[in-house]
Structure formats: C-alpha cells, structure tokens
Symmetry: C2
Subunit: 687 residues, 2 copies
C-alpha cells in the first residue's frame, strides 16, 4: 500500500469508529450499562474479526483489514489507541491528590491494599492452575496484575443515585479506589520488570533477584514521582509562561507523552509515565485548567482506545469452550477476590457483614486500566488472543454484574457499620439556576473554593457532572444536571455547604455588578442617540403604511404597548400575540426603550413572529414612557424579530434612530396627516 | 522493531514535537514573525535531517530516525499529521459562509479569481521552463496549484493593527480570500483528477479529456457540497441527538474524517472531503459550538502538522545552488503573480495604483494549504525532496516578506480608491470589562447576535481574539485582548455597533438578575443561620485570646471594622493592613455580614495575610451593622484568609455560626470578664 492509501484507510476507519462508539455507548446506556462497554462492543462488532473484515467493492480486505503481526489493526490506528491510553492515565493522575491520599482514611487504605493483594495473588494462581505453569510465568503475572485495577466510576454513579455517596461504605469505597489506583500502577511497574527479566532470559529468578527488580521499579516510580512533586510548582510556573491555557495544557500533555516514552525505554509501561506526570501536576493550581482544556482531546481519543481494544477480540475464539471455561473461572475469581479482599478487612474495621458486602461489591468493576494492560500484554506477545479474550470477558462481566450486586446489597435494610454511624442522615439541597452555563459557573467556582479550603475534589464521572469533595470526615457529592445543582452531605455539614454556595453566589453577583458598572447601560443608552449614524432605505422599507397609527389611544406605557402589538396582530404579522406581548414587556422590564426627544423604540426578539415586522404609532399629546430626558414621548416605533435568524433587527433600530435625530423630521412626523406621509418621512430620512 | 518500540518512539516524538513547536512559535513571534513559521522551522531543526538524526545512547538512529519510502518520518507520526490536516481544513470550512459568499462583493470575487488564475498559470509555467517539460507534467500542475492558496491570517493582523480592516482595500482583500479558498479547493480537485489520469497512464490528454476530468472533479465537489448544504439541517439535527456538545462536535469531525477517506478513494484529496464537511455545517446553528469544542484538538494536532512538514525538509538539499535558484525564481513568480493577478483587476474596479498595490501585497502570503498540498505531492511521489524544498522556501519567503511590503504600501499616504471612498473615517470604540471571562461572554454573545442579523462572521486569528463581521458594505473588526474589547468600524456604523453591544449588555444584565433572583442571597443568608451544624474544635482553635477585644470602642460599622483589623495588625497577623481593610470593606459592600441575634461575621479573602487569622470583638451596647433582623449587633468575629490555599475559611464561618446559635453562649460571651473566657466559650461550643 502507498502512504496515501494507508492514510485514507486510517481516516476512514477513524471516522467509522467515532460513529460506532457513540452509537454503541448510547445504546447500552439505554439499558443502564456503562457506555465504556458499549464502546468496547462497538469495536468488537466493527472490527476485523466481524463486520470490518467483510470484503466490499473497493475494499478487498474490508474497512478494517486484519493487521500483520501481533495486532489485529493497523499500526497507525493502534498509534491513536496508544496516545489515547496516555491521555487516559494522564487525566487519571491529574485527578489524584497524593498529599491528601497519604493522610487519608486508614480504613480506605487497608481495604484498598487488601483488594490489590488478594486479587493479584488469586488472579495469578488461576493462571498457575489452568495453564499448568508456575507463578512467575509472565502470563500468570499478567493475569494477576490485570485483576487488580478497580474502575470506580460505575460504583460512584450507583452510590450517588442511591444517595449513599456519604455513607461510611461509600466513603470507604472511594478512598480505597485511590489506593487501588496508585498500588495498581506500582504493582504493574514491578511485574513488567520481572517479565522483562524472564523474557530476556538474562538472569535467574530467585527471591533476591525479584526483590532487586521490585526495588528498581519502585525506585524509578518513586524517584520520578518525588521529583515531579518537588518541582511541580517550578514545572507549573514554566508552563504558565505560555500564557494561553490551551498552550500550557497541551504542553503538560507533551510532558506526559515524553515521560511515557522514557518510561518504556526504562522497561516500565508508558502509562506509568503518563500517570506520574498527572500525579505530579495534580497539586498545582493549573491542574483544573489542564483537566478542562484537554477534555476535548479526551472525548476524541479515549473512545478510540476502547474500540481498538474491542477490535482485538476474535469472537470465534472467545466462544470456544476452552476460553469460556477459563474466562468463567477467572471472572469468578476476580469477583470473589475483591469481595473477600476488600470486604474482609472491612469486617475488622467497624463494618458488619452488610457493610462489608457493599464495600466488596462496590470494588468489583474492572475497566480501562485492565484493558490498557491487556493491550500491552497482547502487543508484547505475552498474551495470545485467547488469553486476551479471557480478559475482555472478565472486564465485561465484572462491569455488568457489579451494578445489580451493589444495588442489591444497598437494598438490604440497615446500617453497614457495627456501631451506628455518627450520622447516617444525609440530606440533599438543590439549587436551580437560570441556565446550564450559570450552573457550570457556580459549580466551577464552588469546586475551586472547596479546593482552597483543603478539600480533595474529584470528578467521579465526567459525563454526568458528578463530583465528590472530601476533607477529613466531611464528604459532599455534587451533581450537576442541566441547570440544576444538587449537593448531598451529612445533615451536620449542610450549613457549611450552604455557606460555601452562598459565598460563591455573592461573588458572582459582585462580578456581575461590576459588569453592570463597567458597562453602565444608562450612559450607553445616552450615547446611542448622541451620534449620527447611517440610514439604510432598504432596511427602513420595513415600515409599512398599514402598520402606522396616527392617533394612538392609550395613556399609559402599558396601554400603548398593547395597542401597538395589536396593530401588528390585526395586520396578520404575528403568530402568537400573547407571546409577543410577554417578550415586549420583558424587554421593557430590563430597561425602558424610551429614548430622548420624545422617541421610544420598543422592541424584542420573540418566537411569536416568523418575520421581522415594524409598527409606528403617534400620540400627539405624549405620554410618560420612562424616557431618558424625562420628557413625554410622542413617536413610537416597535420592532419584533424572530429569535432565530432575526434579520436586520439592530440595524433597523440604529437606522430609524438616526433618521429621528433631525428635529424637523420629528416635528413633521408628529404633525403628519396621512400614514403614507409618515412612512415616506421615516423611510427616506429626508423630507 | 516491535509494536511496543514503535509506539514508545512515537509518543516520545510527539512529546518532543509539542515542546519544540511551542518554543519555535514563541521565538519567531518575538521577532514579529507568524508562529506558523516557527513551528515549521522547529520541525526542520528537530527533524531526521538535523538534530533528530543524531545518534544517542539508546537511540541508534536518533530521536527521529529517517523513515522508509517517500516519507522522512515514521508512518505513525505521519498519520497524526494527516489527521491534523483534516482538522485544519474542516475548521476552515466551518468558518466559510457559502450563502454569503455567493452574494458577496463583486470586486472581491474578481480580485480573488484573478489571483487564482494568474498564480496557477505562472506557477505551472515556472515549472515548464525550469524543469524543461510540458504544462501537463504533474509536477508543473502541482507547482501551479501550490501557488494559488493565499493564507490571509497574517494580512488580517496587519490590517487590524493599522486600523485598515474596514478600508475599501481591507474589505476587498478579505472578500477575495474567501474566493481564493473555495476556488483553490476546486482547482486542487481538478488537478488531482488530471494527475491521476497521467500517472495511471490510462488515457491520452487532450482538451476533451481534461474537460471531462475537470467536470467530474467539479461534479463530485459540487455534488457533495450541494448534498451537504441541502441536508445540513438534518445532519445538525441528527448530531444534536447526542446531547453533549463534545459528543456531537467529535461526531462532526468523524463525518469529516470519513468523507476525507471516501474522497481519497474517489481520487480527490482528503482535505477536500474535510473542507466540504465543514462548509456544509457552516450554515447550521451548531457551527460555532463545534468550532469551540474542537479547539483543543486543533491546538494539539495542527502544530504537529507544521512540524512534520518541516521534518520533511532536508536543509542540505535546499542550500544547493539548484534548489536556491529554482526556489528564488518560483518565489518571485509567486509574489508577482498575486500582486499582478489581484492588483490588476483592482485597477479596473475603482482602485488607484496605491490601492491595487495594497491589495496585491495583502494577497501574497501562502501558508497551511500550500504545505498540505506539498505533503500530498511528496507522499504520492510526484514531488521529490528538492521540489518540496522549493515549495517550503516559497511558503517561508512569501509569509516573511508580505508583512513589510503590505506595511510599506499602507504607509504611502492617500486613499487607495480613485473616487474618495464613501467613508474613510473608521473609528474605534473600546469597552473594558471586569475580567477576561466576561469579555469572552460579551464577544460570544455579540458574534451570535451579528450572525442572527445576517452578518458574515469570521474568526481571523484564533490566537489573538480577532474577528471580522461583514454584511453588504458594513464591516466591523472586533478585537479581544484580555478584558478589553475593541471594535473598529466606519463612523457611520458605530451607532449600530453601539446598539448591538448595548443589547448584549442588557441581556447579560438580565440573565444575571435572574441568577440573583433564583439564588436570592437574602433568603440564603437567612437559611445559613437557621440550621444547626457541626462544630469542629480543631478549627475553632483559630480563636486566640490575644486577638479578642472585650470592649470595642467604635460606634459605626466602619469604625468597628477598622478596629478589628487593627487588633489583627497589632498582633502581627497582617502583611498589608490597608489591603486587608480594602478587601473587608469590599466584602461588606456586596452584602452585610451582619447576621441575626446580634452576631456579625465580617470576613474576606485577601492577599494582605499569609495565614488564616481570627479576631473577636464585643460591644456590649451594640451598634447598627445592617443585620438581618435589624437588631443591634454585639458580637463580632472577623476571619481573614489568604486568597490562594485559604484553609478552613468557610468551615470556620459555619462552625462559629453553629456555636453562636445557642442563646446561652451568646449571653455568656457578651458578659464575659476575660479574654480566655470568651475563647473557651467559643472554642468548646459548650459551657
């Protein structure tokens, strides 16, 4: 294939993947299944082993020809999946707050460690028995490490739905997940070191050797993490030299990519380098900005990763009895090892059986990290496609069964702790804002304040606007749905939450006040009529004789407005008279359209009209229209435009305002005897 | 190389590129040169022919080993550059408004067409003479097409700096550039069709044949564009089914990628498919959202494209006499062809020599599109590395010499039109807002309103916040720098501009008013003290005896606040007393901190302190502190925190508020005889 052919195949594949993952994600979400699984399955369906391999005219090997070597896809497509995995782990590192992690809940730590140790050991042992090999077979080590990484996003969603985020079980699960992440990464580093030694055949494996490798891997990890943390402020200061937030966010990702490459050279996985970079920057003040700015990259790349992993799956191999039996056993072990490994320690740490079960089931789901490691194993040739299938099965099933299991255990009535918890009474406060944007603004500000307050803030589920903030034994979950913000916390901490939200609102109000001050609508309004502008005959031709009234009847502002709307309604210009009236009154409420020299320009954009329309009214005696100079208003020109594609609404206002600057024209309009005379005066701008 | 080695090399390269392009871009910008050139040069410097080829320990072929085949870089890295070129053209298509293009200025159209025809013909003829071949040699056709595509970003910046954006010359250049874009794409389609025929050897080239190919290419382009435009609303409606803006923006990019692949299969260039997709969606209401949402992808990918193009350049070949002579002649022809091709027609359309020169020099710079086409030529083997070098030289030099030439021609005094222009008096209005975010908000809203008004709105220079809006003979340029928004337009249109800005401000004020209403600070404040909350002894230990005053002297709110700040100052708690006072008064101005039951909690975040500090004051007789219940205030507790990492500021407020809910404690505090007694009462929350 020529370069051009390779590239055109790639872009077509990327286009297809982007659609397939989003359709897949949406479909499974309707069934209440996390969208990640839909993206994975979309990859299976469109991949080279399924639809993508079908020969089509112009595509002799289908849309997704089977790749050469260890990969089922082309090297170019796999490159996008690789960068995606780096973005994923970089973002995950950014969200971890190591400082708070270190002084965090002892219970969470013990539960997390228990889960990692148990699942690693049992996962590897499954390999030992089923593959008839030894524990230090690279495949067994991979089966062990693959079983450790819990993906807590789904659990968080369920806890939030059931309003249990702040229960002792919920807090423990979320704390344990942080330990799980960090320990999983360290364990991966060690395993890769051992695997490298085994596959290179460069040394005999004994306890001292393994300890040495473990020490080296741990050393590299700790060394880089320590350096990153020590110099994090310097790095952030350097990045901030590139003023634009997009620039320094992409540069931070650049560090992650470079460090990923360097880690791989050192025999550690790329994702470890990416995670360490994120972790190092997580304590800096630009962490939140970077997270926000790379969100677009995340949305583009990460689903490609899941799809590509799905494409590696050969369904024909998976449905072989061998893979199904192996996969079934491995999955059961994976399920049991987290329930026992996490639930067991919980039993000794103040939880009863109910609580331990909830914690254990909450830690079951495996997800993205397991998939990334499986991809590494496949690409390096340690895992064959059958073992890869086993792992995909495990990931799918643990993610699928965890939600119902957790839900069931949450439904068992009663507290999960031996002693009644200090406060099981969590309460919910809800704020509804004017628009999504304002809700965004409020939540962003609130999270920033909470961080300043020493809280550990975590985005649990970026798609669904779910965040979690913890500090010591205070825990809040913040949900943003459209324009509604909901905060759940203990009844004891609700006053604190309200204080925090109150201060945010005050600050926003203040900002807005300053906006008002700096714009000064009154002064701006005055300026509008002070300067002569261009008049366009073309635009002024919107004024039509049928919509002119020489003798308005009304004596109040309200009467005049209704009367003028009725002129338009009577001439068939309006689709919905009452909607137009509402919008016109709404606009007057923000600021009167009464200008100076006896002119008013009431106007609005409204869904009650289909086309822009204009009415003109004259009231010789004048009325009080809250004009700028306080003088009575005699000439009224009303403009209504549709909200979408409104046409020359503002241009009309500016044009007619310019015409009416002339004292003589105003006088002639007021004294006009006929409607055509008024139209001619206003249209021509001359007389 | 194993897959893992390929991938780790790639991510390291991407990391290096991300840094190099930003450094390069910044360095040349200091010298006033467009950052694109810096990114290109960064690629040359770090590329395989230069630093990237240097052998290093662990890197036997350097960081950027020379690729096999036609490309100097690896196929995986080139894949990122390819996707970048698609994003670039997709974004460029999104910015074009075909509807307005079609009914746009006749002068701009003729000037644009003149430039395209002249530069194509002369560019190809240069090839004919220097390569001693015929016009229909693919290389000549490429040299022709490469010479057509003007990149108007630099020109727009200069016009804006010189306040000439709205001069007849400025408007003509910007209109001509739109024609240039569209015609360049169509010409590219035709050339590729002819080249395919030549290289396949599948047919003889005669006039009928060429017409047939031109017809087919034009047909495909027009067909897809027409279909895209006809179904654009349906496509937009479908995309909007995916509620999240990131989702549907990435999906739109997915269409661009898929269509790019399909176009390539049809013998047209990928970028044409991407451009057509952008163009089709440009008229829909989601165009602006997509542009914003893919901005992060743009910032990540596009500089990679320029760097990779730079990497293809072998400096040793470029500095050969042959390439320098060829490049010099080709560049001179490229310069002359736009000056004559665009300036010539202008002479017959009301411009004098001065004006024609300004227009001609403004159209000189070539940029991203020329580079993309050069990459296509190189990858398909039509261009060799020497010809590629010639084109890079041309791109560099035209971009470098255009700014001084245009500046010089603008400095020649006098109007550029034969008849004095209707209005040469362009005026500038400036608005300064409270923060960058608010300026963003105002500009976004203003651009949306202008679009609704039928204006053609274009982001001229995304980095520098420069936008251009045109409709018939009205033209505005809008510049956003930090929190300052500047709008330049004819003196005749300034009233219209002011009307438009005024309406935006009114609407924002209204939104804010609704925010205020929906939050109702007064009601929220009341709620704060109504509910009992948690008290933390740990946090309340911030109260220290030395900062307690049992007998405040002041009799007004202001006196009390100054007195309490002085307590903190006297105890060495403050870094900057006057700054703290200012911040405290500022906070009181937004809303009094006087609560109910005789308590006030004045507080602020201030850069005037290094650590959180608390003062307590008692005024037995009470004073008016604008409290909620109108009763006099007797107990004052002041908290000041540093702005960054403020510590438990809000938690302290909530805790102390909870303690003071008890009538008995309040009474005892007021009657206390000693400072330790007050501290003990407040700290323990019991007595």
């Amino acid at each position: 294939m020529t370069v051009t052919e390779v590239m055109s195949e790639l872009v077509l594949q990327l286009g297809i993947i982007i659609f397939a993952v989003r359709l897949g994600g949406r479909l499974v979400k309707l069934a209440g299944i996390p969208s990640v699984l839909g993206e994975l399955l979309a990859g299976v369906v469109i991949g080279p082993y399924a639809l993508g391999g079908i020969v089509l005219p112009g595509f002799p090997h289908g849309f997704f020809p089977l790749g050469e070597g260890a990969l089922a896809v082309s090297s170019e497509l796999y490159a996008f999946a690789t960068v995606a995995s780096i973005i994923l782990l970089f973002a995950s590192g950014l969200e971890t707050d190591l400082g708070l992690f270190l002084r965090y809940s002892v219970v969470g730590g013990v539960v997390g460690i228990g889960g990692v140790v148990f699942s690693f050991t049992l996962g590897a042992l499954t390999g030992v028995f089923l593959l008839h090999t030894t524990f230090i077979d690279p495949r067994c080590l991979f089966l062990g490490i693959l079983s450790t990484a819990t993906s807590v996003g789904i659990t968080a969603r369920i806890l939030s739905d059931q309003k249990r985020m702040d229960s002792p079980e919920g807090v423990t699960i979320l704390a344990a997940a942080v330990f799980d992440d960090v320990l999983g990464i360290i364990a991966l580093a060690i395993v890769l070191g051992i695997v490298a030694l085994i596959t290179s055949g460069g040394g005999s494996l004994n306890a001292a050797n393994i300890l040495g490798i473990a020490g080296k891997a741990l050393g590299i990890w700790l060394g880089f993490t320590a350096l990153g943390l020590i110099f994090s402020k310097k790095i952030a200061a350097f990045l901030k030299l590139f003023k634009h937030t997009f620039d320094f966010s992409v540069l931070a990702l650049g560090i992650a990519l470079a460090l990923a490459g360097i880690f791989e050279k050192q025999g550690l996985a790329m994702i470890i380098g990416a995670y360490v970079t994120g972790l190092s920057l997580s304590k800096t003040d630009i962490a939140a900005v970077i997270q926000e700015r790379i969100h677009g990259l995340y949305e583009f790349f990460v689903p490609i990763f899941f799809a590509v992993m799905g494409m590696m799956v050969n369904m024909r191999e998976i449905i072989s009895p061998k893979v199904l039996v192996f996969g079934g056993i491995y999955t059961l072990v994976a399920l049991a090892s987290k329930v026992v490994g996490c639930g067991g320690p919980a039993l000794f740490l103040g939880f009863n059986l109910r609580g331990a079960l909830r914690i254990g089931t909450g830690m079951i789901p495996r997800g993205e990290v397991a998939l990334i490691i499986a991809g590494i194993g496949l690409a390096s040739g340690i895992l064959d496609t059958q073992l890869f299938g086993v792992i995909i099965l495990m990931t799918l099933i643990t993610t699928l069964v965890a939600p119902p299991l957790l839900n069931a255990s949450l439904k068992i009535p009663g507290s999960g702790t031996r002693k009644p918890a200090k406060s099981d009474d969590s309460v919910v406060s809800e704020w509804e804002f004017y628009s999504d944007e304002i809700a965004d603004l409020v939540v962003d500000n609130l999270l920033r304040d909470l961080k300043a307050e020493g809280f550990y803030v975590q985005m649990m589920n970026i798609d669904e606007g779910l965040s979690q903030a913890r500090k010591d034994d205070i825990s809040l979950s913040i949900t943003e749905e459209e324009s509604v913000v909901t905060i759940e916390t203990s009844i004891l901490d609700m006053p604190f939450v309200k204080t925090a939200v109150f201060e945010v609102m005050l600050r926003l109000n203040d900002t807005i006040q300053k906006l008002k001050d700096s714009s000064d609508p009154q002064a701006m309004k005055k300026e509008l009529v002070d300067s002569g502008g261009r008049t366009s005959e073309n635009i002024l031709s919107l004024i039509q004789a049928e919509c002119v009234s020489l003798r308005l009847q009304g004596n109040t502002k309200k009467e005049i407005l209704v009367e003028m709307v009725d002129i338009l309604a009577d001439n068939g210009k309006l689709e919905d008279r009452s909607l137009v009236l509402e919008d016109i009154f709404q606009r007057e409420k923000t600021m009167s359209t009464g200008m100076q020299d006896g002119i008013a320009l009431p106007h609005a954009k409204s869904d009650g009209v289909k086309d822009i329309c204009v009415a003109v009214g004259i009231k010789k005696s004048g009325i009080d229209f809250e004009s700028m100079d306080g003088n009575p208003t005699r000439i009224f020109i009303m403009v209504i435009s549709p909200k979408k594609v409104s046409g020359p609404h503002l241009q009309f206002l500016a044009s007619v305002g310019a015409v009416l600057q002339s004292d003589e024209i105003r006088q002639k309009v007021i004294e006009a005897d006929s409607r055509p005379q008024v139209v001619s005066l206003l249209r021509k701008g001359k007389f």
